[in-house]
Symmetry: D2
């Protein structure tokens, strides 16, 4: 197989960008031809990331849509909130395909974006044009698209865990409570007290309770699946580890269900989707079991005593929660097998 | 102040026992005169715990109630489930005061014990005689008692977090969901795959979902506070850290409340109790902030969007969740200030 | 490229074996056709390693050379000391190619093996027949060989760091001191107190000082490079991390050298060897920069004040220190490009 | 015992300062009456350190020698390099006793200070007046002194490990090599890439090889013990843990020695010094075994094969390596028992 597509990565010096470099290096049909960083333009990428020594010898490019067009067919935006909304119009005008890993194009309502992100939203027509690339739910809609909004890390773990039960009406969506936990890489590479090793190691913290910007993103899809507006309770915690997200989710079952029924429902719902793995009854997924991979593993407990369902869902936040799903979206957009370049075994232990 | 009480510790080679040694070394009125281990009897304690080198030079004693009587006035049982139920009668017959850190005497119903622990329960009269030493809830009842059942680690974090809101009827107890997380020391010192460093580090796991033996202990007290039988949903997770428990708790508010009202309710409820600290609105407690100490720190978010209350409560599982509360219980039983020997600053970072 | 070689892995339930599964899954010319475990024969491999769910559905085979012959062309032995010495004769008789990851065939002297391993050695003719597969030093000798002894993890990091300076006589080999540090996965998956999370986390330990069985392996090659018998001082430490080895090495320079001279010597010595990366002056390699990869990164400081050279060398103990180098050895033995299946980017962070 | 001494802490918002607060809270004769921070003056200390909630309710004071005099008898300086050299004259003029935890007064040569610290040194008369408070070596000289320079963390672990063997001439001081490892808290609370959790976790790094500013401090004392100028090779590494330092030290034995002889030499040398614990032959100290305490534990291996001695020494860098030794120095200066307020059991695990 020869390279068919040239890719540029904007935000190459963040964790999402560098993970894209790792994944695309193993992709049989894509070559990364430009790594771009507004802050370190002109420097060798291996200076800030010595693990790339002798693997990538690029100097970092600056942000210039025309130049990107000369070097690339697709652009991945691994940029902070507020950047993509400004860059996207020019990139699309240049005829570039865009996969945006930020939150800028995920919410269909610009108003909601402004409320939760505290920044001006992208123009409405781009919000409309962007397809929300939660691959296992909306993969069909991604095919052939030019502008893809890659989902957030928490929404990915959470929505994959809830979708079948909500869509089938097996749980009452008004009772959903989401208790989410993330490794520290989710906070990005910026140095501050909350990512300081000595403050984070041997520590477990809650943060942004009821205030995380991923809440409207989760509710937007839950509402769509339920067919009516849904609000949820969502808590985020910081785990002393680098990678991994677990969502533990609770809801009232609309009628009693055996765990085996749920397992079968989920396997049916995700049939043919290689990256969702439903666990056997009583076997709980752990974050390390998907480390470095694009898998989302899901387990259940249906509790007859309380009438509640507990769902546990895990992903690697930098892969399925960011760079991996972005590559999967590109595969889907191109009409390729969605596993291309992602078909590897998690590193364990 | 001179030593007034001699203490023996059964199970001195477990994490609970060795933490008792650390805490009682700083207690102004208690001296540990016998450290007891059925498995390592005859060996110097510093052999298995080199951090005690030149601090404690004892040889470990075997388990013998008569010998304990000769050496001690109070016995702490830091033993696995099923041991205390057999030892307690002889110890009480010898006139010894007993603080049991195991689960053997916590449930008033022997039947429930058998269901959740899978072992025969203690005789009913001992279950009845034992006072459940959740100090901030039942401290008055502990005074002068001979047989104290020290609460479990998860129930301590959970019940201190829920009690005021349940007792005052501010939340609907039927809607309570408890998402709990613990450091690895909670699993004890036994070596097995689930405590292996390489399996636990950089990993976050759920375990015993809906099946943890602390569930009936939590429900027993919640039911008492609510005045009717309560069942709850309770999930436990393993965090890659050594010490610390966080309980994140959810429930429907019976009527809208501002966070400040909750803070005031809790401060009132725990007035004069030095080891419960209620945080300011928006400041979430983290486990490291109570590390090595007997504190339980609690924070709140009342969510107008969903009508739900989120409570976050943290303890050090080996201190407030085990050895520290055991010392606090002894203090209360003796009529001393409950902070004696426990009045120190958490180690940070 | 189609599969040309079928591989069996004996010891598939250890960390070395499961890492071979991960790496060979990405190899374009090798297919793993049998995963073998004496202890778990008959069980699905994903039971003990849920990260392999739906990736490998094999039941574990038992150890039977005839059966291996039917299923495989090459056998990887990822077994404890003392197993390979017994298995190898039958495997060779069956015409199988063998890569042994254990220490059984590394020392040319059976007597030394017995002294350091405390077990009877393999027969002398197998010790002689086996080629010591330190790829960057002896790669030429591996080509076409049937029996390859894969080097130990510490010797790999250490010898790659020392070889050029010793071979060229730039350091006095009698003054070499090796201070080595390893992650916990090096101790294997067996559960015991020294790998217990709570004993290892937030802890740094020395162990087996001057007594590690890798000492004679290091000295055997150093002596060969120096042309006379060399003894060294070698200390091992346990780092609270899962993967990674660093060797910090000290020796007296035979004459003053600038760091740049050393960098050039090493680059020349390892020219064309893709997996050794020499760092720029003043840039020290860290274990995370080779995590999950087959790289060995090396840095230097030549100290004019003391006349000593300090060399820092890092590898991933499970990859370059075990399974990765084993695959590299197979590549060399087959006459393939040594990077086949190993040409990926380290996962960072 | 009642409070006899009032203490002020300058630099209360660094890890050294906050550790002083923890330790002095348990001191029977000292009360902390002023916590001082130039950067956060006016703020409640518990804002930046919530673990102090309801324990210390102080507002942070600004730096004002006159005000300190009004509130305190002794001042601890836990400040960055370059601050103490400027503050000390005014503090001494006010009649305050000073314990300086920074490096400003440790080197007798101002020139050396300038070379290694890159800052102007303190005036020569203060360098002369300051006593170097390595308690177990120079404790006698500390008694009654007004200006104490508290040793660095690495020098403490290193010099306590080397002193007896150097002083007695059992090792050749010209052959000393020091391989040191530290937890991340040694880097202070400042947020930067090298203390970022995701960069540090599951990572082991070397840094400042041959360039650490503690080198001249170590050499100054070694030279004094050896009676002639000594230079050493000293490497520092960053361990993924919060607290703890290990120094692994190597030197040639001047004549063959059994380990037991060394143990006896060291026990004799440190007789009566409670905070140095010499381990039995074959038992290696680990950092967790001194965690949170003022102990320095030391072990040995004398290697007949190489004629070299290996010494392993561990401390808690924030206690014996900083705040704990500072309190010990105050005790010695006051003529009190050196263990006052420091006589507790390490927290384990």
């Amino acid at each position: 197989m020869h390279t068919e597509l040239r890719a540029a990565i904007v935000g190459s010096t963040g964790y999402g960008g560098v993970e894209l470099i790792r994944l695309l290096a193993a992709h049989p049909r894509v070559a990364v031809t430009s790594v771009i960083s507004s802050s370190s333009s002109g420097e060798p990428i291996a200076k800030g990331y010595p693990h790339l020594t002798e693997i990538r010898t690029d100097l970092l490019d600056g942000v210039d849509p025309g130049e990107m067009r000369a070097k690339a067919d697709v652009v991945f935006l691994a940029t902070p909130a507020g950047v993509a909304s400004k860059l996207v119009p020019a990139l699309l005008d240049e005829g570039l395909k865009v996969v945006d890993l930020s939150g800028d194009l995920r919410l269909k309502s610009g108003e909601l974006y402004e409320t939760w992100y505290g920044k001006p939203p992208a123009e409405a027509r781009y919000l409309e044009q962007a397809v929300y690339g939660m691959c296992e739910l909306y993969g069909e809609q991604v095919r052939g698209r030019e502008l893809i909004s890659n989902p957030g890390c928490y929404p990915t773990a959470t929505l994959l865990g809830l979708a079948p039960a909500v869509a089938e009406g097996w749980i009452d969506p008004d009772t959903i409570i989401i208790d989410a936990k993330s490794g520290v890489s989710g906070a990005g590479r910026g140095a501050n007290l909350s990512t300081h090793y000595a403050e984070t190691n041997e520590n477990f913290k809650a943060y942004k309770v009821n205030k995380h910007q991923h809440i409207p993103e989760i509710e937007q899809t839950l509402s769509q699946l339920a067919g009516r507006p849904i609000v949820t309770t969502f808590t985020t915690h910081l785990v002393p580890m680098t990678r991994g997200i677990m969502s533990t989710m609770y809801a009232r079952l609309t009628e009693p269900r055996a765990e085996q029924e749920l397992i079968e429902l989920y396997r049916r719902y995700y049939e043919g989707r290689r990256f969702v793995r439903i666990r056997e009854a009583g076997q709980w997924p752990a974050t390390k079991e998907v480390w470095g991979s694009n898998y989302c593993d899901i387990g259940f407990a249906a509790d007859a005593r309380t009438g509640r369902l507990t769902i546990v869902s895990v992903i690697d936040n930098l892969v399925k929660g960011a760079a991996g799903q972005a590559v999967q979206n590109l595969n889907l957009a191109m009409g390729w097998d969605e596993t291309l370049g992602l078909d590897f075994v998690p590193a364990y232990p």
